[in-house]
Amino acid sequence: MSEQERMDGPELVPELVPDLKLAEFELQLARAMRPVDAPEGFAARVMDKAELTQKVVVIRPRSGLLRMQAWMGGALAAVLALGMYGSEVLHQRRERAEQAAKADQQFAVAMQVTDHALAQTREQLQRAGLKLGE
């Protein structure tokens, strides 16, 4: 048996593993589970990502502001639309009121004309010795 083999010990030979006691197996497991090296360039990649993360953090308020501006734009558009709709409704109401007033005026004029015509007719009939309604 070589010096190296003696250092490794017989418990490390695969065919003997089934006969190992639990404590020996634990030892073997601990040896097998040494930490392994991180991949080449790992730290550099983490640093790059950390820098990107920081940029994102810096950008965040701006993107938040952009989101707020978009939201405010939407709200403004909605307010404008409501305003336009409201003014249209008011305009229509005013027009209807004006038309109603005009119609009332026309009706009053027509009534005056009718009253006048009736008065004249009554006068002519009285002169002829007749009474209206007879």
């Binding site: 639990l22 991180a38 790992f42 640093m47």
Partner: protein, 175 residues
């Protein structure tokens, strides 16, 4: 840009703990690429949280906990079990180290790593923390937020399962 001092200090932390973080991620996920992603995420979280951490021990504890959580999250997201991937990384992770014959037999290491990937998640995490990180059951319980009895049970059952599997599959292995 990162402030100069901040960058130097953060890089020191990455370089100090990268081996531990990557190994934990690798042994829990069983997949090299996923392990790198998990390890990077753990360090990026550290970068955001470092001001709250009070000492080097606190950083180590925090990194172990975050790495285990992120690794188990990654495991749950993955639909397939990692057995197939295990063979791929075992060679990459242990190849040069075991090839010189100074450590234990490469075939045994590879087989044990493979068997570890076959353990249920909770047992595997406990076994990795115990044998890779050399943590006591109390420390593992604190890290995982589990009762000590649960951790001891996971360790005991995990170890017995591994040993039983080793006994069966390594006989086949040498035929």
């Amino acid at each position: 840009m990162l402030m100069a001092m901040e960058a130097v200090e953060f890089r020191r932390l990455v370089e100090t703990h990268q081996r531990m973080v990557f190994s934990l991620a690798l042994r829990v996920t069983g997949e090299y690429g996923t392990a790198e992603e998990v390890a990077q995420d753990a360090f990026l979280e550290l970068y955001r949280a470092v001001e709250r951490l009070e000492s080097e021990d606190h950083v180590r504890f925090w990194l172990r906990r975050v790495t285990v959580h992120r690794a188990t999250d990654a495991l749950r997201r993955r639909a397939v079990r990692p057995e197939a991937a295990a063979e791929e990384w075992i060679e990459e992770a242990h190849g040069p180290e075991v090839a010189d014959g100074a450590a234990m037999n490469a075939a045994v290491v590879a087989r044990l790593e493979e068997l570890l990937q076959g353990l249920p998640e909770a047992m595997r995490v406990a076994v990795v923390l115990r044998y890779q990180e050399e943590m006591s059951p109390d420390e593992i319980a604190k890290l995982l937020g589990q009762p000590v009895a649960t951790v001891k049970s996971h360790l005991q059952r995990g170890l017995q399962l591994l040993r039983r599997k080793a006994a069966v599959t390594m006989k086949e292995y040498v035929r």
